[in-house]
Symmetry: C2
Subunit: 424 residues, 2 copies
């Protein structure tokens, strides 16, 4: 994962820019961007969007980086990503052996490399490689911005499988950050198997027992600065063998953002990055999975969503395994560009004790959701030998009858949580 | 509620005391205590117990205060209570009208005084008066020791009933303290009614609906100093009217202590005060309800109890309503003497940042229990318009994979939570 250096941030336009119509801007912007991207001669897919009184320009340069510029502070800043890197990666993947690809990982995978090589065309292997790659990519990006170091812990589960947990506590930027890979093998009862799916499909096991494999990458990041939102993502794959030997499989996943204060630009970048990934696969994915996310991350007893959402889906098993896997791959490749630009933007924001306290109150709500409603945690707790509750923040606060003052930024945040918005 | 002043603490004995046999001590102690209790000429029920290498002397003076002296630091300190005050109160109650008794309360009761006067012999009225008295007694004792003031908020529930919440946040001694009275009226579905009882009794309602009344006093106190334990109590009464007009009723309740560090003397005082209240009513109550408490306050996914227990019971409806009510009354009259002597003992204990952090980790576990397992919270959340989650601490902490060092006081605490002990 490469980043354009901070020096590429430039003040390009005066205030008159905002009066331009988008299509008039396009040509001008393309030229200017090309001229100041010294290492880049060609920009493709330059598009302009107007959002929250700001003009946002998205472009992809010849190295495959997606660039985002906005007129936020009348100064163009860059927020860049790696949409096209995925193409490069794809080429790399094809040319590389499993062993070669593993060199970029945090540790060796949970499954023996020899087994992965042997079963390299099976979905289980492809997914395990993808979750390992996602972990490596995300933790590196976080370490770079924090300056601290993650602790890595590879663990085994005597019932089958294991995981690689990668955690940072009390870093410079992050109060608590975890990026975990888990691969679970075992047998489920028919009842437990049913509970794993939000759908209604009945699974028949041999003597009521179903051999299963569940794997995923998941991450929860809680920064110190209340102007940097928390992020969570999880991408997972389940495979269950029925009595007749047939395999039931499905994918699930999602990425969602939990800010302490509303920043419409951040919300746009976050949702738009997810939307673009979704749009490549199905025109309805973003709208459907955005709604699902708002429904899922809902703290019923408070009448509030946990954060400003993102996407969430489960039981995805059509049109076919390869296509769903490609969609999951696109999603995992948004985790850095969804979040890191937001972290960098607010890195040096100052904050007051009141803002810190409000962050702590919101962390309390995060804990409430995770302990009371989260299906992933319930699943984890039902699996002996699993690591769970890593997602809880380092610190949280519960005030008696806390209600922010009218017109305050805290009240604005609450209003959004009580009435989920469209951000793109 | 009167307290003997701190000046009554005296160094009475030298180290030789510990070598005496209990029966030899008795006469000596009685004389000495009588001589230094200048305001007291007679001590009754002087008893000596040996516990955890300490000799503990319990006595009741002529004003009805229970006095506790121990050789803990080779200095006799006092921890006193009001066992006998309850007798005085009883006399008072009999001679006083409802209106007169209400003068000592925080606010007027939830139910109109005129209604209470009219129905003064019904159990609902007796219980509402008792929970109001308990609230007044406990909050006054807490205010006295803290020096701060509780905020009182009387609220109504449009579905029927209401409550009086009495809360202190960020006091001198208490980080968060709540002493609440709730009186709920309404209709339950048969399913909901079934869930309210831990037993299996089936209740038949008119068209499936059961008019009910639920009331209770409950309190959770989280002190700042990690050497002062948190305490929780709840005493409640349920009444459900069945289709044929007959009333089903039962009582529930309990008091339990959650220390951050083990202090065997505190544990003894706490459990012994509860045991003495239980013993007056049934020889098996303490043992049974102590076990029930350890079973109930169990954080399954951690394999730990929440604290060092106390007593817990539910569905109590025998031998008869009057006798169960008397037991509940005895229990509510232990809430001050169970806890206040412990608070006062540790009021000026110094502590380190490490001890504060460990307290915060334990508070995290408290949150986990309350959000994941507590039946009272589940019941409250199922009742629209109810105030819940007041029991959560102001602040809590979740460390990655926290495990105290071998032989540390934190490890000693964990060991007790993993293997519940007998304290009396």
């Amino acid at each position: 994962m490469q980043y354009l250096s901070q020096r590429n941030s430039r003040s390009l336009f005066g205030p008159h820019v905002r009066n331009f119509f988008a299509h008039e801007l396009l040509g001008v912007v393309s030229k200017i961007l090309s001229s100041f991207q010294t290492s880049v001669t060609h920009l493709s897919k330059v598009s302009l969007k107007s959002h929250a009184h700001r003009t946002i320009c998205l472009a992809i340069n010849s190295s495959g980086h997606q660039l985002m510029y906005h007129t936020g502070s009348l100064e163009f800043q860059r927020a860049e990503m790696a949409t096209k890197i995925s193409h490069n990666m794809k080429k790399k993947e094809k040319g590389q052996s499993i062993t070669e690809r593993c060199r970029g990982f945090l540790t060796t995978p949970v499954t023996d490399i020899s087994v992965l090589e042997e079963k390299k065309d099976e979905m289980g292997t492809k997914m395990e490689m993808l979750i390992m790659e996602t972990q490596a990519e995300f933790y590196k990006a976080l370490e770079e911005v924090d300056g601290g170091t993650f602790k890595v812990d590879k663990w085994e589960r005597k019932e089958g499988g294991g995981g690689i947990s990668c955690v940072m506590q009390d870093g410079n930027v992050f109060e608590k950050a975890g990026v975990d890979v888990t691969v679970l093998l075992g047998c489920l009862t028919e009842e437990a198997a049913k509970q794993m799916r939000s759908g209604e499909k009945v699974l028949k096991g041999k003597n009521g027992k179903l051999p299963f494999c569940a794997m995923g990458v998941s991450s929860v990041i809680h920064p110190k600065n209340p102007h940097i939102p928390s992020v969570h993502f999880n991408y997972r794959y389940f495979e269950i063998k029925e009595e007749d030997g047939s395999k039931q499989w499905w994918f699930g996943g999602g990425t969602d953002l939990t800010p302490v204060y509303i920043d419409r630009e951040d919300a746009f970048l976050f949702h738009n990055t997810l939307k673009e990934a979704c749009d490549k696969h199905h025109p309805k994915y973003y709208a459907d999975f955005k709604k699902w996310c708002d429904r899922y991350f809902y703290i019923r007893h408070r009448g509030e969503t946990r954060g400003i959402g993102g996407i969430f889906f489960d039981d995805l098993d059509s049109p076919n395994q390869e296509e769903v896997f490609n969609f999951i791959k696109s999603c995992t490749r948004t985790v850095v560009p969804c979040y890191l630009p937001i972290v960098k933007k607010h890195l040096n924001d100052s904050f007051t004790q009141e803002e810190k306290d409000w962050q702590q109150v919101r962390r309390g709500r995060y804990v409430e959701f995770n302990l009371m409603y989260d299906r992933g945690i319930k699943f984890g707790l039902s699996m002996p030998g699993c690591r769970v509750l890593m997602s809880l923040p380092l610190t949280a606060r519960w005030e008696f009858m806390h209600e922010p003052g009218k017109g305050s930024r805290e009240a604005e945040m609450l209003d959004v949580l009580r009435n989920p918005k469209e951000w793109v």
